[in-house]
Symmetry: D2
Subunit: 341 residues, 4 copies
């Protein structure tokens, strides 16, 4: 932490800050400039942060210098990237994860048909929602355990690892029997109870960035999972909230190079939710591959016009193979190959 003193701060105020920094076992380096005095507090960031020096006499502001996350930081792996291994597929590094499937598990027929389509196109994993977070309590909330059983069937037939969302800590155990990856949705990114329990479950996690979460907060949320000893964490950017009303969310592709500078964890892009319309999903997917993402999680439906939810943004099964092909070509230019067994 750097504590920047006010121009008019007295010697006594400076000395008092130094004393408080030292009182928690940190050391204080005083730099006296022409205009301002700056005190560098060297030691445990949390302890200095806990002092609440922002309100102390003579203090102008406090600037954090070190990152607050540890296990997620690039430094923790000394600059090496994490490569996860899930159901025999590698995620991260030069591997591009193509994760596809329906928004919602609606029926055996629909799920199996989409599963076969994406499996033939050579995807990395299969996604499908059994528990659906819905803005309205009056909307369809997912098939629940019945949905999990259908996902198991898809897994049995195609051999694809399964990604599915959980919202309630009481559902983790059931979900983890079927799922290879538990998805934590954007609205639950700071549901610390859920993060901790997913961490303890040992199941790999795909953690979506909250609608207005900074990258630092996303990494702090991942830290809740990592600190339980669960190293299989993927981060996912799915669109943030801005003033623009022309689309549902603004897909923040700058998060990819930025996260790569901050963390060793793989970064996945969800191009479906931000766009909200099918014809924008392919250009955004290609852009995600070009910007260096470690993968895509995309919604596909065998009959989007009659999908129970989010139909307009789901790719149609029949166009999926050619979409996947173009995506693979761009990923190659960015130095990656689609991950398969």
């Amino acid at each position: 932490m750097m504590i920047v003193m006010k121009a008019e701060a007295s010697e006594a105020e400076i000395a008092a800050v130094v004393r408080r920094v030292e009182s928690v076992g940190c050391s204080a380096h005083v730099s006296q400039g022409d205009v301002l005095t700056v005190i560098g507090a060297i030691g445990d960031r949390d302890k200095v942060g806990g002092l609440g020096l922002e309100g102390a006499a003579g203090v102008d502001h406090v600037v954090p210098i070190q990152k607050p996350y540890k296990l997620a930081s690039s430094q923790f792996r000394k600059g090496e990237r994490s490569i996860l291994e899930i159901g025999g597929r590698k995620i991260g590094g030069e591997n591009f994860a193509l994760i596809a499937g329906p928004c919602t598990v609606e029926s055996v027929e629909q799920t199996m048909e989409v599963a076969r389509t994406v499996s033939e196109a050579g995807v990395t994993m299969f996604r499908g929602g059994a528990y659906k977070p819905r803005t309205s309590p009056y909307s369809f909330q997912g098939l629940g355990q019945e949905g999990l059983r259908i996902l198991q069937q898809a897994k049995d037939e195609t051999g694809l690892p399964i990604v599915t969302e959980v919202m309630d800590v009481r559902d983790i155990e059931d979900a983890a029997e079927v799922a290879d990856v538990i998805q934590i949705g954007a609205r639950n990114m700071q549901n610390y109870t859920l993060l901790t329990e997913v961490g303890r479950s040992g199941c790999a996690a795909l953690l979506k960035r909250g609608l207005s979460a900074t990258l630092e907060e996303l990494l702090m949320a991942s830290e809740y999972i990592l600190k339980e000893g669960n190293e299989n964490v993927m981060l996912c950017e799915r669109g943030i909230r801005t003033f623009e009303t022309g689309y549902r969310f603004t897909l923040d592709l700058m998060a990819v190079p930025a996260l790569k500078a901050l963390t060793h964890l793989p970064v996945i892009i969800d191009p479906s939710h931000a766009a909200g319309r099918r014809d924008w999903v392919e250009p955004l997917s290609l852009a995600a591959a070009a910007v260096g993402a470690d993968g895509i999680i995309v919604e596909v439906h065998n009959d989007p016009e009659n999908a129970i939810c989010d139909g307009p943004q789901q790719l149609a099964s029949e166009s999926f193979a050619s979409y996947a092909d173009r995506l693979e070509r761009v990923a190659e230019i960015a130095g990656k190959a689609v991950s398969r067994v």
Copy 2:
């Protein structure tokens, strides 16, 4: 819903949309303008929304006309405001709820001392955190059940109703034995599991607006509680996220008149978290009273310099009485009196 067709939409495309609207039991009114054709879909918004017409041939865009929330809407109470009654105190209408207490329950001594101070100043309810949502897993997470016991002690001595936050559905039962109001934090505003279970608990709820939640989403979240038959819901604005880096959050006081136009539920302002510094809490509190809020939830500490968390933003006990006095004078001009037994 109004379905706005593209200028170049064909007769067949228009007819197809009309057919789909009618297929879910709604009626379609076609308005043919000089440039555009607009189809009004009259009936259940959710059914028409489920059709996913945004992606249909010839459709330019779809404009929702009706509000998606029902129980929370002003219309549900025909324009009359809800007046809750909690522990003998009225909330809403001409009653101004002054809710005060420490950010975190740290010890018996600290809690009781603050409780006595705010009780003497005539507050409406006492607040204090036993379970603390923290950005960092390495920060103090609250005293938990021990904290609840201390709150019970404060309630026993002062007679003040208790407001405390819950994050984990598994803690609701314990909390509800002590608390008169369960607070749902901003980061859990769309934790639908938690909302539903708090709704079922029967305990009154104080629901904080998410950091980037629209007012419509806040009302939809309240709908999750209301639909369980729990009518005792207060909404709380506590600062939203913007591009400004000069403060932690931007307190959105426009939410007060705006929510009053949309809902019958009381609207409370939390001036402490946005500011993050003590000297801004009073001006923001006065502004909240002036803009017509139904109350304030504010952090007070007997020794802010040594508070375990958020010390810099907590008002000091010794200045609380005169603060409450000025607040009351402004509330009076806005037509309200502090609610007491």
Copy 3:
């Protein structure tokens, strides 16, 4: 500036940064922590900033410590507040500026009628637009010079100082003959040519914060005026852009205490544009007075239903006197009295 080095930065990289800092005449203080090395660059911020050290080898990031504005800073006046004197009225300190008038000068009759109403209610200054910035080139762009003549007539009759907006540097000379204060609109906040020329005109300026401008940028913009030797600058918050679609802009009342901590310049609130509807203007005005603003600039029309522009947000003349009365009562609690001759 503090230059934070990467954990893995070498001794040579640290030495190179020190050399570059010293090469522009600044001194460098190196603080070696357990994890990170931080280099404090003491001296001219602009010179160090010009080095572009963010890109240098071994550098993690650069943290500015000093404020980039000078003349506008609180420190420049050693914590004393500026009190402007315009047409015999004091602005700032314990004086509350009530500035009122129509959005647009539409006709002699309309302008004179509103001028008489607000003059009788004892306002501080009269506002009215002759040049109107419009999002659409097809909208009414103002009466121009004819509008200025009408404003002169209002000034002659009421004796009130005039506030009017200029957008084109070529109109400053004409406007300054009539106006006591030239308003610079939010969309021109970073029109540096206009700022400089208004600075040179010697006419007082009311500078509106841009729709997504930080407070630091607002102060930097004011610096463009101040550096021309023009000290009569008022800052104005008029609503910022956020994700919320329930109102046109989000009025940021936190800007008032925040600006008071940063600058000696008076801070005015415009409650009309953010709300966009008349019934929200009064609560927002009262909140502005309560939060400590140095004044209000508000739109009033004698016949809002038939106003050429922004009718729905203009207060009606007949309700203005009682509005002004309530506003004055709240301002008093905040320690201010409406400024009059």
Copy 4:
């Protein structure tokens, strides 16, 4: 326009709205639903908008149906894309404009060296700043007319068309003698005076999106240029302002498919300003090509470490050719070829 009436609106209030719509020569279609009445106002959007019906008795809200821009709209060209021709180079359609050059014209040597580098790499146009908009009045403001002369020299030697920014209407004439394209910066996007005068100059324009401008506002701004009879307008996305502090701006690549749906004008991406660091410029450039942009405007410097401004974000000359090569390969997958004579 659709005027949505309140649930409790009376017959008389509905009739009054119909009368007012008809009073400006538009027709009103009334749709009576179970809950709400909606009035469709068919005719000139501006006239109905001018009525200010948002404030009228019984009106809940007003929903615009038609786009407010005309000449810029896709419909104006019946879905065909504009292909500009500037200095013999085609912009738009299947042509990818690669525009490169230094942030600022610093000297003859620096400018000519960069011009030769990018010319050899086969760029479409050369960019360089003579007039620099700077947040601080104390920063270098550009070489002005001397800078224009240096740009002329670069044009003479390389034959490349020139793109340069103008901020002051009084500089347009000089700039237009050298420039093939006048750039209007983000902070001037709503400087209507400047837009109109650039429109009248007849010189092609590259219009940057404001930091918090919606796409609709960007198109409205372009309309100011187009309505003067100047059809050579390119739009440019350069990063918007969000809550994220990890980068200077958030590059909004969704604007590309979104603008393609709304307008026939070419869309260019500026990847340099948002990133603010060189190593992010290439991934963002590739993403821009992949998402379907019509071109890139990128900063290149022969000695970025010693650049007068924005050094850290400028690509180094020596790496430019290989960068351009990779960019071209991605553009090809998106169906475009770099535009050259």
